[in-house]
């Protein structure tokens, strides 16, 4: 029993993917031959042509820039969910150094990713595979816009690592504030840096293995997780957009059961709760009249209008965090919106 278990582990460990061997062979050459070969050069060049720099709003220490992956010839771009998408101006700089304005097509709260679109043809794009091309121990390269060190047409930063494992992250509130809910690739390449979010994780032959996730930091130890959203999950997200047009996801179907105080007549008024509908998600979560809504899922609610916009993006039956101010306290409220009534009942 013990032996067989270890045997299994041993197999896993030594099933060196061809890629690593290729790299090792080439590394041998680099060390011995006079003219060094760069084994990663073609994979990197492939990815550089398919990654973009994204600039948007920033708040305080949260940087307003990230990376994105071109995933279609008509300018669809995958990136992470972040503050940088909250402003009205989302700017995308394509590898040729040109700047485009982008709009958000869709978002996924669970995967913390978003799909953008620019009005420009992008003939070079990533094929997002349905099956993950990497396993534990495989070498990967991360191509990211970290620290904004690359400007305009300058090339993004590249770091090297191996896939440490594929595991599940559960969304958690509290000390470990993890909004992400799903499987991730953990790598030993340090990707958890400002701006790296949305970057490409590629195999050393250039295939897309995943997208670098947004920064997750332990509040107690200040350590960060280096992870990527696996390519197969990205593919599901992309496919979902194309197929499930009737899905209520992000179509504004979610209901919270909150009426805001709108007497002032302006849409710029702060989002004070005027009334909590009985038996609504809001009532169940314990929201009360006169609570001031500060944020929904880390997105700041500036005013009534902002609240309306954010609620439209919510997915029914998906728990979200809401920060509210009640008298002098700031409360973190967990709330699960309900779905919309069907058309039949409405009529």
């Amino acid at each position: 029993m013990v032996c067989s278990l270890n045997n299994h582990k041993a197999k896993r460990w030594f099933s060196l993917p061809a890629a690593v061997l290729v790299a090792a062979v080439a590394l041998g050459h680099t060390a011995l031959a006079a003219e060094p070969e760069n084994v990663f050069a073609s994979a990197i060049a492939h990815a550089q042509r398919r990654c973009v720099k994204i600039y948007g709003a920033g708040i305080g220490r949260v940087e307003g820039y990230a990376t994105g992956l071109i995933v279609s010839a008509d300018g669809q771009i995958l990136t992470g969910q972040g503050v940088f998408l909250s402003g009205t101006n989302i700017r995308v700089v394509t590898p040729d150094g040109r700047m485009h304005y982008a709009k958000v097509l869709r978002r996924s709260t669970a995967l913390q990713i978003a799909l953008l679109k620019i009005e420009s043809a992008t003939p070079d794009f990533f094929e997002v595979p349905e099956k993950s091309p990497v396993a534990k121990g495989d070498w990967v390269l991360a191509v990211t816009n970290l620290f904004k060190v690359a400007d305009r047409a300058e090339e993004l930063s590249v770091s090297l690592g191996v896939v440490s494992l594929r595991t599940r992250l559960d969304a958690r509130r509290g000390t470990q504030d993890v909004p992400y809910d799903g499987e991730v690739l953990i790598t030993d390449a340090i990707t958890s840096n400002p701006g790296a979010e949305g970057g490409a994780l590629i195999t050393i032959d250039g295939q897309l293995a995943g997208m670098v996730g947004k920064i997750i930091e332990s509040k107690s130890t200040n350590t960060r997780l280096n992870y990527a959203v696996p390519a197969d999950l990205l593919q599901k997200f992309l496919a979902g957009v194309a197929t499930s047009t009737t899905s209520p996801k992000g179509k504004g179907g979610a209901k919270l059961g909150i009426r805001l105080f709108t007497l002032t007549g302006t849409k710029r008024a702060p989002a004070y709760i005027d009334r909590v509908l009985p038996n609504s998600p809001a009532a169940k979560a314990g929201l009360k009249k006169d609570d001031l809504i500060l944020s929904i899922d880390k997105e700041i609610v500036h005013d009534i209008r902002g609240y309306g916009k954010l609620v439209k993006l919510l997915t029914p039956d998906e728990e979200i965090t809401m920060l509210v101010k009640r008298k002098r306290e700031i409360l973190r409220i967990l709330i699960t919106p309900t779905g919309p009534k069907t058309d039949a009942t409405k009529k």
């Binding site: 270890n6 041998g28 060390a31 620290f147 300058e154 840096n193």
Partner: protein, 609 residues
């Protein structure tokens, strides 16, 4: 038999051994012998490349043996590169640990606060282990990069720590701190772990060549720990600055004293200091920058990167479009000033995010660009001449031939205009029989007297004060006393002025004066085409900038003749761009074994002019 706990331990150890054996067994099945051999060869090659340079990595401490940074020896005489900010913290001397476990004394030679580089000299060994300086312009993203140094001052036995990663980005620009200090222009970004203490240490490629000096990381967010983003100052930049530092200067970086901005239509001059050299040469606000040093400029960042690697006084060519016309001008770069160390800001300024904390210079930076230590500078000048001698005569100086005879053709404006026969002694004496122009002419120097004789005329002494500034020195010098063993004593004064460029090569520029106070500038190369150290005489002139009156001569096409390296082409040039005026091409060169006593002597029955 055994206490139970001990038995358990034994059992555990045994199990572990079995497991390990099983693993190996499985490995043999899944990976072929050939593949395993490749993996092992790769590993062995990497270990070999580390071992080759392990001894050259320096751990740098202050006199209190506290603190610490890293460095790398590049010259067997004990010269090592490190960061300015390491030396600034450590002081003007201190202790240096090598992989042999010993501590050596080090002394500061020169500083480049702008580029965050310093050169120190270790003492205590005749021949220190060194690492070769590589070519950072060939570095590409994805190349392996090994950082070595003393992170967190971990090594109590002084053995360096090695961290392996890849090049993450090239041609990066990281803004400086304070006034024009610690600017990382055109630097190399790596994901090799760079931690506090790695500062000043080398970044190697897998060929064991230094491609950069590790100096900083993106530490701003999370305290001073590695976040996978380190920056190394490019060897391209450091190579250029080395003579400035060896001259014991506080090196200054170059500037045009004009700001260029990306606008529609190109890179436009948006600010200009009207006192700057480039303004005096005609650059105006709104002009478009089109080229810098022969490279087309399409982006202001690219220009900033290129410029940040050059020292003040470096000759550059700037092309700009003004109205309809395009102009190309040559100039020496103006100097970027450093902030005075005396002033302290009344109020601490807020540091914008992404900026480094300003460094507090402990050493005075009040007199940048001047030789700080004349004695050390003289020693460095002597080393340049020594290395030139080694190049020209060979290390062992086997050559005993006293002189050479040359047949030379003379070209002007691409046309052959004459020829000459020259006898040059290794001691610097010469005799030239020229047949260009209307009348044949003979000139010479017998070691005491310069003389000249037109055909049919009587020989005449030349004014000793004026003669060497003619092309005579150029005629004689290539073999001359410069290559002698005690060359430095030939001059009343000699000073290594710093870095310069000649024949499009990096050069040491020396200023010499003889007993009569006559100035002569000498340019020596630093590296050969492969980047290896090579000190070759490139240029001689009476002036620095190639004024036509200075009689500037460049020396090209060195070839070995009987163990002596002899330039087979000489050009009389002018201006910073070294425009060709007259070229002497050697068609025949032969040694003279028996030199007649009066070979250089002025023909008798002379009158002083």
């Amino acid at each position: 038999m055994f206490p139970s706990s001990r038995r358990a331990k034994l059992l555990a150890a045994w199990l572990l051994a079995v497991v390990l054996m099983l693993r190996c067994g499985t490995a043999a099945e899944l990976i072929s012998a050939d593949q395993l051999a490749v993996v092992k060869a790769t590993e062995a090659a990497r270990i070999a490349s580390i071992e080759k340079v392990y001894g050259s990595v320096v751990a740098i401490y202050g006199n209190d043996r506290q603190g610490g940074g890293s460095g790398v020896l590049y010259d067997p005489d004990g010269y090592a590169l490190t960061n300015y900010h390491v030396v600034n913290a450590a002081g003007k001397d201190g202790w240096a640990g090598l992989a042999d476990g010993k501590l050596y004394r080090w002394k500061l030679i020169g500083l480049d606060p702008g580029g965050d580089v310093a050169i120190i000299r270790l003492e205590g060994q005749d021949k220190f282990p060194v690492a070769a300086l590589g070519d950072s312009s060939a570095v590409r993203v994805g190349d392996w990069a090994m950082a070595m140094g003393n992170p967190f001052v971990l090594a109590e036995d002084q053995k360096p720590t090695v961290t392996l990663g890849i090049v993450s980005g090239v041609k990066r620009f990281q803004p400086g701190a304070g006034k024009n200090m610690l600017v990382y222009g055109n630097c190399i970004q790596v994901d090799s772990s760079i931690n506090p203490g790695n500062s000043g240490g080398p970044l190697f490629n897998l060929q064991s060549e230094v491609i950069g000096i590790n100096g900083r990381g993106s530490f701003k967010e999370r305290g001073r720990v590695n976040v996978g983003v380190g920056y190394a100052i490019s060897m391209e930049q450091i190579r250029t600055f080395i003579p400035e530092l060896l001259a014991t200067k506080i090196a200054q970086h170059g500037t045009l004293d004009a700001v260029f901005t990306n606008r529609i239509g190109g890179v436009i001059c948006s600010k200009i200091n009207l006192d700057s050299t480039i303004a005096r040469l005609g650059l105006e606000l709104g002009d478009r920058l089109v080229s810098f040093n022969g490279r087309k400029i399409t982006d202001a960042n690219q220009f900033t990167n290129d410029l940040s690697m050059l020292p003040a006084g470096w000759p550059v060519q700037v092309g700009f479009q003004q109205g309809q016309g395009t102009r190309h001008v040559w100039l020496r770069l103006d100097a970027l000033p450093y902030g005075s160390t005396k002033k302290t800001p009344a109020r601490p300024k807020k540091i914008p995010p992404g900026r480094q904390l300003p460094i507090k210079p402990k050493m005075s930076l009040d007199k940048p660009g001047v030789v700080r230590d004349a004695k050390v500078n003289r020693r460095e000048s002597a080393r340049v001449l020594r290395d030139w001698g080694r190049f020209a005569l060979g290390e062992k100086r086997l050559n005993k031939v006293p002189a050479y005879r040359f047949e030379e053709d003379i070209y002007e404006g691409g046309k052959k205009t004459g020829s000459q026969t020259v006898i040059r002694g290794l001691d610097g004496r010469f005799r030239v029989e020229q047949t260009s122009g209307e009348l044949p002419k003979t000139t010479g120097w017998d070691g005491q007297v310069y003389w000249s004789q037109q055909a049919g005329d009587k020989a005449a002494k030349l004014d000793a004060a004026k003669a060497p500034s003619g092309d005579h020195l150029g005629q004689g010098v290539a073999l001359g006393p410069l290559a002698g063993e005690k060359a430095v004593e030939h001059f009343a004064k000699i000073e290594l002025e710093g870095a310069d460029r000649s024949q499009n090569r990096r050069a040491y520029r020396l200023r010499t004066e003889d007993k009569q106070g006559r100035r002569r500038y000498l340019w020596f190369s630093m590296y050969d085409a492969m980047g290896r150290p090579q000190v070759q005489l490139l240029k001689t002139s009476a002036g620095r900038d190639g004024d036509p009156a200075d009689r500037t001569m460049t020396y090209l096409d060195y070839r070995d003749v009987e163990g002596v390296q002899i330039p087979h082409r000489r050009r009389q040039v002018q201006r910073l761009y070294e425009g060709n005026m007259k070229e002497f091409v050697v068609t025949k060169c032969e040694p003279i074994v028996e030199l007649a006593k009066d070979a250089f002597a002025m023909p008798t029955d002379t009158k002083t002019k």
